[in-house]
Amino acid sequence: NAGVIQTPRHKVTGKGQEATLWCEPISGHSAVFWYRQTIVQGLEFLTYFRNQAPIDDSGMPKERFSAQMPNQSHSTLKIQSTQPQDSAVYLCASSFSGGVYEQYFGPGTRLTVL
């Protein structure tokens, strides 16, 4: 079991460019979560998929951020027109199912927007 895989581990973009972050959940897990981690805000929930369907995106900024899960083996988080304030570590987690089961986290993608 390779755990949750996130690529790339580090990404540097210029202001206004697009960034796409990838997550491969643990095989057999039906729930996928995205979080953002910053020094100031700590760990913030962004969005949640169950069985590939978007369930809750209440934490996603309304503009420029979008997430998809086209198949059970990967999810993407896309940030359009990146801004310096988007700089953060983006963490993906998966669980056996949404709800009470614990979430397993990937190593994160550190996004730096210059």
């Binding site: 700590g42 760990l43 987690a93």
Partner: protein, 113 residues
């Protein structure tokens, strides 16, 4: 709404000493509680979880935590710390039947030789 407070941003202990990291939560129902650890440049790893039953739960690497409903707390303990325990520790909560994890701000533990 639920929340988690970790009042100590940094804790320093000597190797071999005992440890307690504090966690207080706010939630009107019965919460599901977790402790996660984050090592540098890594994701979060689950140390232990509490759903119900015995208020003292055992985790990996000698960690344990005690749930107290009366104090709304879920403190993490270890009898004897090792230098490799140096990391950031997060207390977290989900509501009954929920999926959204609410994290505390984290406590950075430094184990000195």
């Amino acid at each position: 709404a639920q929340s988690v407070t970790q009042p100590d941003a940094r804790v320093t202990v000597s190797e071999g000493a005992s440890l307690q990291l504090r966690c207080k939560y706010s939630y009107s129902g019965t919460p599901y509680l977790f402790w996660y650890v984050q090592y540098p440049r890594q994701g979060l790893q689950l140390l232990l979880k509490y759903y119900s039953g015995d208020p003292v739960v055992q985790g990996v690497n000698g960690f344990e935590a005690e749930f107290s409903k009366s104090n709304s707390s879920f403190h993490l303990r270890k009898a004897s710390v090792h230098w490799s325990d140096s990391a950031v520790y997060f207390c977290a909560l989900t509501r009954t039947g929920g999926y959204k994890v609410v994290f505390g701000s984290g406590t950075r533990l430094l184990v000195s030789p």
